[in-house]
Symmetry: C2
Subunit: 699 residues, 2 copies
């Protein structure tokens, strides 16, 4: 790259310098950042991250400076090189799976081994028999078999029952024929499939004797282990560029009557008896549902951290950026105001900062619940036997109450949390003004890669039906006089008992009342939906919008409750000032949510119009003012290394403008080209530093 002339190098940003501004921000707050960090991530978690960071930083292949410039093929090539290097480092440093995940988070881009290392290995492990572990899992763990998880089809997304790919049992030679009868049966969106995988777990409709038995998983070799070319009668490719995720080779896959042996069907839960040619039912469908519930729980947990990245960048930049004078400023108050001092900026950023903590604590709570449930389940499986055979969780009864609650909760919270993170990141990007649009902000590319989370593992709209169905069922049980068995039925019963007296929650003065107001609104909406469905016999489809709102309301209650409980029951290790500040963040999250959804709170009589007005006009504004001085330290506590953020605007040291300029002037390959700008000239580039344009990454 041409270096800038000396007079350019001598230039500094206009004062005050960003580094001084951030220093002043940190000086004015008494938040103990190390303590808060440890509270969020534990000492071990933090040490692990920094140990792995030191290793990654030294490898040139992980240098991020060209990420934002390259085209699709180059980006994929680099991502493949990085995936290989990560795996080599894992072997070399004996990283656990968790270490590897931390490395992936630091690298922060989806990679070609992504689905091999997650769904392929997990499915083989969880749904394979010991014999299948020997045949497939061992080689997969050694990366001799590299796999993907092929469920979604071109014409079929969330609806697994609608999948068209067939697996027809052949009683004669004890094989299955895997076949794609139509174009829409093509597997589509399958991560790691497009170029990388040589095996796939294929979800296909099992057919025995002409009769369908629903979708089941089959392990299929799809590419030659030597040449890596697709096998005969298999057609594979990458599905093309996307809004983000372009370092991943999401692929398509078609089968033309491909035979696989009996062992290809993953048989831990259900199978075909090769002697009788009969289907053997799963012992407990609930266990299968468990995986998705787990995946959704991790999404809730991650959403807080995903959003915190955007909030960190925007908060630091808004403390460095100065724009306009305060209109009320006195004559002698010279200079422009830090953007973070404007209330229109605070009202966007600070509630999101509170949301990061809210989601993090909620995710933690769910993971704990999930672990407790898994333990209980595996104890029960022996006893319960075939009581639940063939039943999805929405059909189960009071016996597995915890599972049903967890399943519904995970659906609603996954929808709310991923939606909130997606929306919030974009709010952060825009809060950075024009520079938020530059890739160097680090928010746009991160947002684009995170976006599919709102769609996968259950579309955020579809999922809310599961929550509504569960709440309606719980409400029916309460109406029938069943004793409450969990928190959901408890709040419904409480509402029923008190609805005639009405609520008089002191939302502005009492934290427990604030939580209770959210519970009240959720219960109110539940019984209203129940009336529509059971009494007025309204069509299910006509109620979907109400169900969406209901799910959102119930999930917001869960988040408020988890945040509250964390501060009241589990805040050991925090000093008084930090705890007091977290209480303010709790109130900001709750009150800001409450006033955004004001009309549901009125309508349910959980609060009065006057209370909402007060919440909006004074309580929230006062909280913004109180939290403002601590904003920079609070984002520091999320402990994102600069290497991970890869953002000019979010630099820890505040050297925002220097970094923007350096990246543009020195790392930008377009600046190696001199164009011929005149319309009649057929020449496009007069000078073209072709070697430099093509800085191919080497392994």
């Amino acid at each position: 790259m041409t270096t800038a002339p000396q007079w350019v190098k001598d230039l500094k940003p206009a004062g005050p310098q960003g580094s001084d501004l951030l220093k002043a921000e940190r000086a004015q707050s008494n938040v103990n950042v190390d303590q808060l960090k440890t509270f969020l991530f534990t000492k071990e978690g933090l040490e692990r991250k920094h140990r792995i960071l030191r290793i990654l930083e030294k490898e040139s292949i992980f240098d991020k400076s060209q990420n934002y410039f390259a085209g699709r093929v180059d980006r994929f090539e680099t991502a493949l090189a990085r995936a290989k290097k990560s795996r080599q480092l894992q072997v070399k440093h004996k990283w656990t799976q968790e270490d590897k995940m931390v490395a992936n988070e630091l690298i922060s881009e989806p990679g070609p081994y992504g689905l091999h290392e997650s769904m392929f290995l997990i499915t083989l492990r969880d749904q394979g028999t010991p014999e299948q572990h020997d045949k497939y899992l061992r080689k997969a763990e050694q990366y001799q078999y590299i796999g993907c998880y092929a469920q979604t089809e071109l014409g079929h997304g969330s609806n697994v029952r609608g999948l068209e790919t067939l697996a027809i049992w052949n009683p004669d030679d004890k094989t299955f024929t895997i076949h794609s009868p139509t174009l829409t049966a093509s597997k589509w969106w399958i991560g790691s499939l497009g170029r990388t995988a040589n095996h796939a777990v294929v979800m296909a409709q099992l057919v025995i004797g002409g009769k369908p038995y629903g979708p089941h998983p089959f392990v299929v070799q799809i590419r030659d282990l030597e040449t890596h070319e697709p096998l005969k009668d298999i057609y594979i490719g990458d599905i093309g560029p996307k809004f983000g995720y372009n370092t991943m080779d999401n692929g398509f896959l078609l089968f033309n009557k491909v035979k696989v042996p009996h062992i290809a069907m993953l048989a831990k839960f259900s199978s075909v008896d090769p002697k009788t040619n009969r289907y053997i039912k799963p012992a407990s469908a609930s266990l299968v549902y468990g995986t998705l519930t787990w995946v959704r729980s991790t999404i809730v947990m991650q959403a807080g951290g995903v959003l915190a990245r955007g909030v960190t960048i925007a908060t630091r930049y808004c403390a460095v950026r100065r724009q306009f004078q305060d209109r009320d400023a006195k004559e002698w108050e010279k200079g422009e105001n830090q953007v973070i001092n404007y209330t229109t900026v605070q009202i966007r950023l600070l509630p999101l900062l509170a949301t990061c903590f809210a989601l993090h604590f909620t995710g933690k709570g769910m993971m704990a619940l999930y672990a407790a449930n898994q333990k209980k389940m595996s104890q029960d499986v022996g006893k319960a036997g075939d009581k639940q055979r063939g039943a999805g969780p929405e059909e189960t009864h009071s016996g597995s109450d915890l599972l049903a609650d967890l399943h519904a909760t995970s659906c609603g919270l996954k929808s709310l949390a991923s939606y909130t993170a997606v929306e919030g990141l974009e709010v952060c990007r825009r809060a950075c003004g024009g520079h938020g649009y530059s890739s160097f902000s680090g928010i746009g590319p991160w947002y684009a890669d995170y976006l599919p989370t709102a769609t996968w593992e259950g579309d955020n709209y579809m999922l809310t039906q599961q929550v509504a169905r569960y709440l309606l069922k719980s409400a029916r049980a309460v109406l029938q006089g069943h004793e409450p068995t969990n928190d959901t039925t408890a709040i419904l019963a409480n509402f029923l008992a008190r609805q005639d007296q009405g609520a008089a929650f002191d939302i502005l003065g009492n934290d427990a009342d604030l939580v209770a107001a959210f519970a009240w609104r959720s219960a109110f909406l539940t019984f209203e939906a129940l009336r529509h469905r059971d009494e007025q016999k309204r069509a299910w489809n006509s109620l979907l919008v109400d169900f969406y709102r209901l799910s959102r309301a119930h999930s917001q209650y869960m988040v408020v409750k988890n945040f509250y409980e964390t501060l009241h029951d589990g805040a050991d290790g925090l000093d008084a000032p930090s705890l007091a500040l977290l209480h303010k963040l709790f109130r900001l999250y709750a009150l800001h949510t409450l006033e955004s959804e004001a009309s549901e709170f009125y309508t349910s009589s959980a609060v009065t119009v006057r209370q909402i007005q007060l919440a909006r006009a004074s309580a929230v504004m006062k909280l913004l003012e109180d939290i403002r001085p601590h904003a920079v330290r609070l984002v520091d506590a999320w402990d994102f290394p600069d290497w991970q953020l890869d953002s000019s605007l979010g630099r820890f040291d505040g050297k925002v403008y220097e970094d923007m300029f350096m990246r543009a002037a020195e790392q930008n390959p377009l600046n190696r080209v001199t164009v011929d700008p005149y319309p009649e000239s057929p020449v496009l580039f007069k000078k073209n530093d072709a070697v430099a344009l093509k800085q191919r990454s080497k392994l």
Copy 2:
């Protein structure tokens, strides 16, 4: 590209076919598409578009099939080739400026001549003297001078007064010295500057005799006309990749004491007298403000069409896509349901469809108002003389009432319209489910390119202060007993007169009342804000959030009013069924907006809680049901050619899956690569069809 084997070519999507589904959609509606098209765009407008489309389609350089794959440098190179070809076609076919704009809309990507053809030429024309027209404008019109408009700086966005670049008058040799004193003074984000322009209009702080006179425009040559290298003491480059807009070379620019002659300062409105070395004040600052008001008006107009693109794609795809059975479906109702039949999809798409019409009509209304005002202004300029000298529009008084109103309206509506289009496009993208994330959806890239509109020509948050300031001023005038002089003061006076009786608007039965309810809420919020500011003496900064809400409320009132008036006063040429349907769209837009902002409508007593509940639970749901059958024809009326949409999902003929598959399998360069997937192997690509990977576009 490797062609698919015969068995793949023989595959069809599972039935019913997308083409049959769209045919059925069109058959079930009686909307006269041609008539509605003509109503929206006029006969001449439609003919112009299709005439130009036929020319563009024939040129291979405009082939869009590789747009979504290429990296930054390649994309820019192609965009430059396209810009040249467009200009050649303009000369060849004698296109007017309007023709050229239509061509740009069809090509649908920002190009390297973008700022030359807009702000550079406009500024030279509007702010140059006849002498300057001779020196600069003629050559610019011939593309010998290719220019850009350099205002924004690295450290300074919307705040023009904060710009750091200096233009120091040298009385000795009658020149100006253009200088960048700091790094943050670097011009930044300047479209067409990075690689293309050889001239710039530079906004710089004029300094005469050590005294600053504020920002003024200077024409500066920045690159050599032969070599195209930057001139001495000028440092230029492209600022790097962005979230979108990567076909444009947004650039940076630094000056190290560069001298330019006296004629370089554009002198139509203000100048430096070279004899006396004194500043000559502008005749009327209002005229300068006019340009930005005009730009904002066009943004409102365009926002409807921008959003309509997304709505067209999503509506067609949701009519083709089928997912899940209706839960209430009878046993014999086989097959999956069209996604557009789900109310959760309708509630997202149909209000947006209504919004497209609402914004289009509002934009039209503003343009008419602007034209009327310009006419009046140029008549007045002679008479008014220096009455308004040096005054921005917010300081002007009742005499130029229309201008003040238009300025405020354009700020608020620009903010609302661009925000609505941005948010709406993303809603459309997600309504397409997983496939919305593919670049082939055509929504993501379009969204990414449109996004900066929310920031430029006035940040959407900052702008709302202008609206609030104007409304407060108007309210003060009304309180002082001044007679209403325009619609804004009229609704404020009406509110004052009636506030004690209260409102009893029949929002569910009467369209005029629906408009009146929006006016009422806007007036209520205005007087509330006034009380906070004038009586309670609250700080300006503490009221910014209220001002934002106020601006939004007032702008929504303007949109509702414009929509209503178009249907009542200007709907000639529409038959009764179409007009009735547009009335439903009007009601859907108004009621859906009203219920989304419910709490402000309660609080102001414009409506009752019961009315909101009815609006939500029945009126809006009934409108969705009524409009649903016409959805596809209504989007057809926006008349987007497939060539322009460049979307698999939005194809007019419904062949969604065939097109997705073809693009992925046949146009995708990543599929020309065979990888070596094993972690230990240093080889990344075993086979690499390098020639094919590099399909450089030729002029």
